[in-house]
Amino acid sequence: MSEDVLVKVEGAYKHFPIKQGIIFKHEVARVHAVDGVDLEVRRGETLGIVGESGCGKSTLARCITGLHPLTKGRILFEGKEVGPTPDKAFRREVQMIFQDPYGSLNPRRRVGSIIGDPFDIHGIADGAERKRRVQELMELVGLNPEHYNRFPAEFSGGQRQRIGVARALALKPKLIVCDEPVSALDVSIQAQVINLLKDLQDELGLTYIFIAHDLSVVEYVSDRVAVMYLGKVTENAEAEELYAKPRHPYTNALLSAASVADPDEAEKRERIILTGDVPSPINPPPACRFHPRCPKAQAICSTEEPPLVPREGDLPDHLTACHFPVQLGEHLTQARAGIAQESTEPTLGVSE
């Protein structure tokens, strides 16, 4: 199994200091964006990462692509450690597709030079050869190569995201980290971009880390899924397994909040309402991060951190960080029904 591991994240921490002071800045607090994450991405697969806004999934993505150096821990790419300032060889292998198709393309540069940038930076091709390659890429992602000289402002959101995909593909990378690549797009366009990504994966043998907060999108694209909450991975399993048999109470709550197309189905479903807000990552709760909101929480949850390991009766790669994993058919709503009713606090779990 270790043979086909492309990326291995070991005990990754990323804290952002909050500084104050006019002349001598000193750290007054830190945002625990990523707080002890272990992950593995296998060659050729798609690992989905889901979680609410602010759970650290985008920061984790940026750490993996080497945009942010880790505070602690390490990331191995093909068995080699990625340092705080990755070299060009690493940059060539790992690319990123960004969330905002408007913000991620330089508005003052032509599409041809945006997509051609990687060739320039790595000294691979220039002049007519560069133009030919850029046009090939544009064709590959379904753009009209004639539009080589246009500016990003002249394209629609979906087309812009295709430009972003073409740029990411230019260097024939092994890994592409997609940071919510479709959440800024119209639903119909989302499907096109996702299908494009899937086709390209089959064609070019790419490995994806796919970050999203839309559970149905993640279910559709991912081979395996990791659920994050406040900078930690709470559950990690095969996509089908995770959706069919979620063990962590948080995963259950997330899944119950996802919208279902069939209204009858939606009616029947048990909706788990979480109390309170997501705690601040500046001052996260001790031990299990989820315990203040968890319907199953007990004393041990606030004193001892549950390890991310396979739980009883699960497949060996279904990992759950919970002392009291949810059993199939268990009614989570009843566990804290009393509190849920008293509380007038807004519901919830998943933003959007």
Partner: protein, 320 residues
């Protein structure tokens, strides 16, 4: 919206309908076309072109009037009291106390004033952009030092310091005085440019396209000057177009005080210095009027450029 978008995405190989080739228009060209629809800006451009022609045509004027550059006519251009004569057939715009033709001097002075104004602006813009980009992008200690440096420069009583610099390094040749004047103006103008550029860069560097460039492996220099610089074209163009008239007035002020351009080289400011206002009003109105016209035209053009680059910005003067 989604339907048309869908269609556009689904059929990427769309043929241009009319057979007309659709040319991508750069934001710069869009701004230029907006500028050309601004009557005030176009009028300013016309005025500036006339003034530039006036400056370029200085030798031509000299040969038409028959009064070469620097020639003095103490006998015919002055009355029996030794005072300069006013506009006449021979001296269209009158003569100065040394008996020189004011028209010819004003034309040669236009060369100096425009040259100093533009050269100082270019120099100030270069220094300002480089310092602003470095401070904004690198941040940290570099930014702290550069930002404090800008604050110090901005808080100096610039006129006093300029006078001290100009008198301390009192140049021996007029060309050196020209260089010194340009340098002094640039030193006191770059800070405003650097501050604005720094602010822009700080907001630009958080944009995703900069992260994209970093993840592609682009180095700092490349990001600063290939990715960020094109995004500064609008604010820098606007600011430098407004810096030109300021520099021209700065030069005139220094020269008027006798610490800028040294005689016999003419500049509008030193011509004002020559003026004996009580009796010879033309000595005041010719260089003064040219100065006013030029700075007004540059300011209006600068406003127009700002409107053209940023249509959302509020106009200082509402006009239609």
């Amino acid at each position: 919206m989604s339907l048309t978008e869908l269609a556009a995405d689904a059929v990427p190989a769309d043929a241009e309908p009319s057979g007309r080739k659709i040319q991508g228009r750069s934001p710069f060209r869009l701004a230029m076309s907006r500028l050309m629809h601004d009557k005030m800006a176009v009028a300013s451009i016309v005025v500036l072109v006339l003034i530039i022609l006036f400056a370029i045509g200085a030798p031509l004027l000299a040969s038409w009037t028959g009064h070469p550059y620097g020639a003095q006519y103490p006998d015919i251009a002055r009355d029996s009291w030794g005072l300069p004569k006013g506009p006449s057939k021979q001296f269209w715009l009158g003569a100065d106390p040394l008996g020189r033709d004011v028209l010819v001097r004003a034309a040669y002075g236009a060369r100096i004033s425009l040259f100093v104004g533009i050269a100082a602006t270019v120099l100030a813009t270069l220094i300002g952009v480089v310092i602003g980009v470095l401070a904004g992008y690198i941040g940290g200690a570099v930014d702290a030092i550069l930002a404090r440096f800008m604050d110090v420069v901005l808080s100096f009583p610039y006129l006093l310091v300029a006078i001290v610099i100009a008198t301390t390094f009192r140049p021996h040749s007029t060309w050196l005085s020209l260089l010194l004047t340009i340098t002094v103006i640039a030193i006191f103008s770059f800070a405003a440019m650097a501050r604005i550029v720094r602010g822009q860069v700080i907001s630009l560097k958080e944009k995703e396209f900069i992260e994209a460039a970093r993840s592609l492996g682009a180095g700092r220099m490349r990001i600063m000057f290939v990715d960020i610089l094109p995004n500064l074209v609008a604010p820098v163009t606007v600011l430098s177009s407004l810096l030109v008239p300021t520099s021209i007035v700065f030069e005139a002020t220094l020269s008027f005080l006798g610490v800028g351009i040294q005689p016999p080289m003419p500049s509008w400011g030193s011509m004002l210095n020559d003026a004996d206002y009580r009796s010879s009003l033309w000595l005041l109105f010719v260089p003064g009027g040219l100065l006013l016209l030029t700075t007004l035209a540059f300011n209006l053009l600068g406003d127009g450029i700002r409107d053209a680059f940023d249509p959302r910005s509020e106009r200082l003067i509402t006009r239609k």
